[in-house]
Symmetry: C2
Subunit: 240 residues, 2 copies
């Protein structure tokens, strides 16, 4: 993957040129895997001991996670894993809808014919898996499709914003939901329509289809959320 002096950092896959990089990646995985559940306190002494380093690189990793909105940091109180309330999920999807709409629009203008053909083949592959298991969203297939679009948009800041920031939150969210049957087929159909618009080099249509796709995904997601009650007040604690 070509990545010269392009844009600042990458996400988790960045080469750890420093201890802070490694801790950042490890902590991200711990959070995204659910090992560190939402609301968990991130104690600097504990984690430093756990990673076998001093607190300096750990603090830096925590700061980066805070800027990526994976943890909240309050002065003199420490960091906690973010708690995704329904209100915040709504906000994330509003932003994601707009940003991925732009990505789809630009992809319609810039994606190479070869990449389009590859992506079409990928969707065919997905189709087989869906009809076999109907677990489209449980795997990473949905991400795969969106990743390709996002990478093809040609806007490095947008790519970084979506992948390094919002997709981490979405992956975290995905752990909390279960989709009803039939969702997989719907998503696949929508993916095909988006790709068709891109193949037709129709930016407006591609943007519209992508936005509708994400809006629909949000509606489906909302149905699968554990509780839709207002905001479950910040509870007492959550163990590691």
């Amino acid at each position: 993957m070509p990545d010269g002096d392009t844009f600042p950092s990458g996400p988790l896959a960045v080469v750890d040129r420093t201890t802070a990089d490694r801790i950042f990646a490890d902590l991200s995985h711990l959070i995204l895997s659910g090992d560190l559940p939402p609301g968990a306190k991130l104690s600097e002494p504990d984690l430093a001991a756990r990673f076998g380093t001093s607190r300096a690189p750990l603090r830096e990793a925590l700061r980066r996670l805070a800027e990526r909105k994976l943890v909240t940091h309050i002065a003199h109180q420490g960091a906690r894993v973010i708690r995704l309330t329904p209100a915040r999920i709504t906000e994330i999807y509003q932003i994601r809808e707009a940003l991925e709409g732009v990505a789809a629009r630009e992809a319609a203008l810039r994606m190479s014919d070869a990449a389009i053909a590859e992506l079409r083949a990928l969707l065919d592959l997905h189709a087989g898996r869906v009809s076999a298991s109907d677990r489209y969203f449980q795997g990473t297939e949905d991400d795969d499709f969106h990743f390709r679009i996002i990478h093809a948009c040609g806007n490095e800041m947008l790519t970084a914003l979506l992948l390094d920031e919002y997709y981490l939150l979405i992956r975290l969210l995905r752990r909390q939901i279960h989709h009803p049957a039939g969702v997989a087929q719907r998503a696949l159909i929508e993916h095909r329509r988006i790709l068709d618009a891109i193949a037709d080099r129709a930016p407006d249509l591609a943007e519209t289809m992508m936005r509708r796709h994400i809006a629909a995904a949000f509606t489906r997601l909302r149905a699968g959320l554990p509780d839709t009650s207002p905001t479950p007040r910040p509870r007492k604690e959550a163990s590691a």
Copy 2:
């Protein structure tokens, strides 16, 4: 301004509960005021001495600035003030167009009648100033209008993203451009149309008008850029 336990941090106006907060604010001002020009090396020992602290809080401030894209940070090489190339400016405006479009849409749904009336009065005030000086963009009037919309969108993450991240970059950019005559009137007219759409509670129209306004602003901006040559290679140095 109501801001309880809403969302993580604020921008520059945050109360400095810690030394790092203060340095972060001070450094932001130094960069935005042009005291630290684009490309300038941000030496940790130098700045630490300048602020009269140790390197620890300074490093933290630098990391935050890096996450807000005001500086680039490379491992073992240090931090530099971001250099806004034409390509990156294009990226910023693409993102901004989409995000502020959402803000306008939501504002059309949620802005109170009182706030709309206030904003209309503000535009009348601007009109007087524009006809007197034709320096709409040189002041903060344009920001004022957009700030109001962004604050009214009801999406805290979106508000934080636009104000804490992208508006810092846009303010930095504004230092580099000079608008031709007549731009102010055009912008004011567009502002009125956006507000009209919001007052009509027409979210689609408000989003469209806002996107067109920002796209037009980008076109005007492009004309006022010093050089439109490809990418002026990272030069040798830039003094503080």
